[in-house]
Symmetry: none
Subunit: 221 residues, 4 copies
Amino acid sequence: MKTRAISSDDKHLKRSLILNAARDLFLVDDRQLPAVAAIAKQAGLAKGTVYLYFSTKEEIFLALLAEEFAGLLSSIHAHLLNNVGEKKLSKKQKHELASSLIDAIADYLQSHPEFLRLDAMSYSVLEQNLSDDFLYAFKYELTRTLVDTGKQLDLALALENGRGVSLLLRTYALMRGLWQSLDYPEHLQKLLAHKMFEPIRPDFHSEVRLALGEYWLGALA
Amino acid sequence: MKTRAISSDDKHLKRSLILNAARDLFLVDDRQLPAVAAIAKQAGLAKGTVYLYFSTKEEIFLALLAEEFAGLLSSIHAHLLNNVGEKKLSKKQKHELASSLIDAIADYLQSHPEFLRLDAMSYSVLEQNLSDDFLYAFKYELTRTLVDTGKQLDLALALENGRGVSLLLRTYALMRGLWQSLDYPEHLQKLLAHKMFEPIRPDFHSEVRLALGEYWLGALA
Amino acid sequence: MKTRAISSDDKHLKRSLILNAARDLFLVDDRQLPAVAAIAKQAGLAKGTVYLYFSTKEEIFLALLAEEFAGLLSSIHAHLLNNVGEKKLSKKQKHELASSLIDAIADYLQSHPEFLRLDAMSYSVLEQNLSDDFLYAFKYELTRTLVDTGKQLDLALALENGRGVSLLLRTYALMRGLWQSLDYPEHLQKLLAHKMFEPIRPDFHSEVRLALGEYWLGALA
Amino acid sequence: MKTRAISSDDKHLKRSLILNAARDLFLVDDRQLPAVAAIAKQAGLAKGTVYLYFSTKEEIFLALLAEEFAGLLSSIHAHLLNNVGEKKLSKKQKHELASSLIDAIADYLQSHPEFLRLDAMSYSVLEQNLSDDFLYAFKYELTRTLVDTGKQLDLALALENGRGVSLLLRTYALMRGLWQSLDYPEHLQKLLAHKMFEPIRPDFHSEVRLALGEYWLGALA
DNA sequence: GATGAATGAGGTTTCATTCAT
DNA sequence: GATGAATGAAACCTCATTCAT
């Protein structure tokens, strides 16, 4: 591709091109950020072009992660808006709301396999090598949306102020921790095929529902 | 320490020397495994010597992590042995046991700052570049101890078979997820000093107690 | 040379730059492939640049050797084309042709001191650490040219089919064997200065003519 | 083995132990000198012990090569002694002697597969890293025996003085050159399985007889 | 004499990023 | 704006040899 992205739309398009290429490659071989050369090739661009849109490799993947966070949170937000009326909920209704929320989250995770994979890289790999500005913008946006959604939750469940954010944070912690504990690379799966390892390899998607269920049960008690 | 580790004890000592050096350096600059050269220097050894005791850099840190896991699990195990009598516990007593267990865990985390730091590297960095044998041995030992401790828990709380392991796994997931969500490198801390970020930076050690408390409350309901 | 090799010609030029640097260094200290760092320095390039043109160090030297083979064989080829008329040669004329061929070969060796030096590394050092593709391409081209030249020889000397290749192969074997037997590194030369060692250190360039002369005499008998 | 070699015989025995171990390992994976650690292990000795008998790794293999040379030359020597009477040989008888000599050589090569393999390492690898003394002793002994055998040849074939050595040297050159040209490591053999490569991979043991036959035919003409 | 623990020089290769074209 | 050639830091691991025990 040698077309020049002149209009703002074109730029946005090319940015997406890169992000998609990066996501595709990452899904093929997670636990390792693909090389910039590979991303460029996959996107049909030159290496240098990638650097016109992102200033480090990590930026690409943090941008991808930001999208995922936004998606999950907006999904939760939407769910809350849909299911909240004006009247106060009964205890049972609250639990039902929590339960459906968990379903919404688990569904999102299932349909966005790259989310927690990327997320698992963020602590050790992704947040290196980023400009303060970019990192700040990421955290800023994330916090804003999170707090926002937290407030929705406060309203929906008649929680005390700030409780919603806390619940969301802990929910997030639990699901990312579970992912990292239960996702094994292929060769490890073979190694752990023996029955004795069964306790440490339940299916993630079932497990996350159960664990979140327990957590919310306690949290709402 | 003698210059040459001839006896098996001496060897074990030298191994520890390396592990300690590695831990020390890692604590100074976590999120990045120190170079083998640096570890060797810190331990007062030559690079090659390190490779007499470990066959890759990652082995060193996985060995360190193995020690931590062993420590935490034995700590839990001990706690269970101390606090379990023969009679069946009342519901209240069970919650008290859970609560004290959480304390034990949280105390361990507080006194072993390297544990969750290392742990956070294990998904993306640590489990690369290891021989299948070593990795298997690690998982084997970990699973064995985990299942063992899980059984103790089953007994102590009169749980159905296998429930204990599950509780431990989810507890672990929650604490590792929280760590990664709440531990910020220094420069990020400065960036996030503003009040608006308060919701995303509660103190880890308080937070882990609270979150685990909620989880166990729900799990034992 | 431009700093950036953009056109295909420029690239070819830069490749040559590297090959020449490698050859120069190798001639200074044969029996040891120079380090890539040294080659890069000699060529006025960065180490990484070398790896843009060759994917392992050995590739560089095998490429060099390939050039030498091509040179020798084309030299032989040319010689045959020049000296072959349509009429059948008499026995004497055949021997004269052989003799002049030997001269052509020996002249080539004399003016390409790197050829047999490199060649002597090929068995034990050079053919390690090469991709199958590269090695195959090398052997393929070599075989093709060799067989081709062999056929010319068949024609020129009215040999039975395939005899020419065989003669060339044995000629090559003899000259490479002689080189390795008669080329001494400097410090060994001093060690073997005594008269008693004279029988094992005749001058290679005379010796190769004599030995090849004897061989061809027998081969054409 | 922790026995001490006190008597001279014991020492000689232990030396042989090392040499045999080295030969065995080298035969398994030629084109690469085995590591000293491997040799020691194979010999049932400690690494340090090896260095009591040889001062560098290369010494071991040069000693091995020396044995081979001695074996070949003594084999030739013996052959000459057996087949030489006092009377002058006819031309035909001379050719018969040469022919049987070639057979003797080729037989030796066939029954000593390590000879030319080792020999092929001598130019580029083996003669590095040796003390002048050792190297000199090697060359001295070799030259002495060679000249000696050469003289026998002079006598047997009524050659002019020194011609025998020359013939032997060229014979050696041809056979080592052929070996290096025709011995392919396994993975290359697969690569060159195609019919087009047939001309460059005749069987060494047949080829060496034919080529030497031609050479001697010319040399005795 | 024998051992094997310790040494540390040495060189390859990768790849994120820059910048001349 | 786009390209891709050039850069060069960074780090691993091997293994021959030494020497304390």
